[in-house]
Subunit: 204 residues, 2 copies
């Protein structure tokens, strides 16, 4: 009987947690981060606000975990977190960057990440967490794929892998965050081409 009760509690907790995550992600898209409150998340999720405060110290923590949970489930559905490796770095980068463009154009994904990025830019403490938990793992996946490409002779071997990654992902991220231009598949393809060839004069 004790066991049965424990598992009921676990199931209820899990249901509450899921409802809190869903509510945080949905509400931040509707109201923006500034107007998001623990009270509103609790009301929307149908739990008491003490339930939220018992698990998370602030709305930033709720939203960050909710986002990581959703991203983790999306990665599982997509067959894991590693970048594709078909042996063709250009094709693989196109696949990944086009998918990134699609994510940045999807309000369900982009609204909470935009809110976390903006708040992390303003507040160094949260920013360190957002960078460490969302951005850095992503950059490392690119680094690994580019290192494999360097070994295969498809990427210059004398380039710092981290700087190579930033050359590819930062322009796309800037267009998204600062809304400086169109963000579509053609842009993704052109960016990859440009990062590989560079903007210097063409050698003939």
């Amino acid at each position: 009987m004790a066991e049965r009760t424990d598992s009921d509690t676990t199931r209820r907790s899990e249901r509450s947690r899921r409802a809190i995550y869903d509510s945080a992600l949905e509400l931040v898209g509707e109201t923006g981060y500034g107007k998001l409150t623990i009270e509103a998340i609790a009301a929307h999720a149908g739990v008491g606000k003490q339930t939220i405060y018992r698990w998370w110290p602030s709305k930033a923590d709720v939203l960050l975990e909710a986002f990581l949970d959703a991203a983790g489930r999306a990665a599982d559905e997509g067959g894991g977190a590693a970048l594709p490796d078909t042996g063709d770095i250009v094709a693989d980068l196109r696949t990944v960057l086009r998918a990134t463009v699609d994510e940045f154009n999807d309000p369900v994904f982009e609204a909470p990440y935009r809110a976390l990025a903006a708040e992390g830019i303003a507040n160094a403490g949260l920013g360190a967490e957002v960078t460490a938990k969302i951005l850095e793992p992503r950059l490392r996946l690119f680094e690994q794929r580019l290192s494999a490409a360097a070994e295969a002779g498809q990427i210059a071997s004398d380039v710092d892998p981290r700087m190579a990654v930033e050359l590819i992902v930062a322009p796309l991220a800037q267009r998204w965050l600062r809304r400086t231009g169109p963000l579509d598949h053609i842009y993704a393809d052109t960016l990859i081409d440009l990062a590989l060839r560079g903007i210097g004069p063409r050698r003939v």
Copy 2:
């Protein structure tokens, strides 16, 4: 006499405006954008808050104008807004990107711009203004310099100038805003080198 009074009023207004700008820039660095208030700016500047509301509808507008005013004065001191053109694009980009690194490492410059960037990322309306008034004019200066370099055969002529600019400035901006790595002159030089050569395999 009427003329004298007008000019006194103008001088007082100008003094108030300057005090409001200085206060906005100073306070945002101390308290962050979220806790910045018109009341605090007014108290710090020694003016009534109605004086501020008469000139600007919101704290975002005060801060944006204060930043643009400071940036404009800095550009005047530096001999104008155009990028240097010594005829050597690599040397000129190094000069400009090193100066940008110095600005991003200077709390007096970077605190208000970081606050405006973060708030603009979260709020599309302010973001459009920040991008149009701060970021876009800067990108256009780079575009002009790169176009001159393309004509001189120092930059590939088949590259979209806007994408070329983003390849250079976005990685630096990302390091600054997301705090993903060191931001120093060596980084600036390496970034320029990488953007010019690309990360693709070296042709021999």
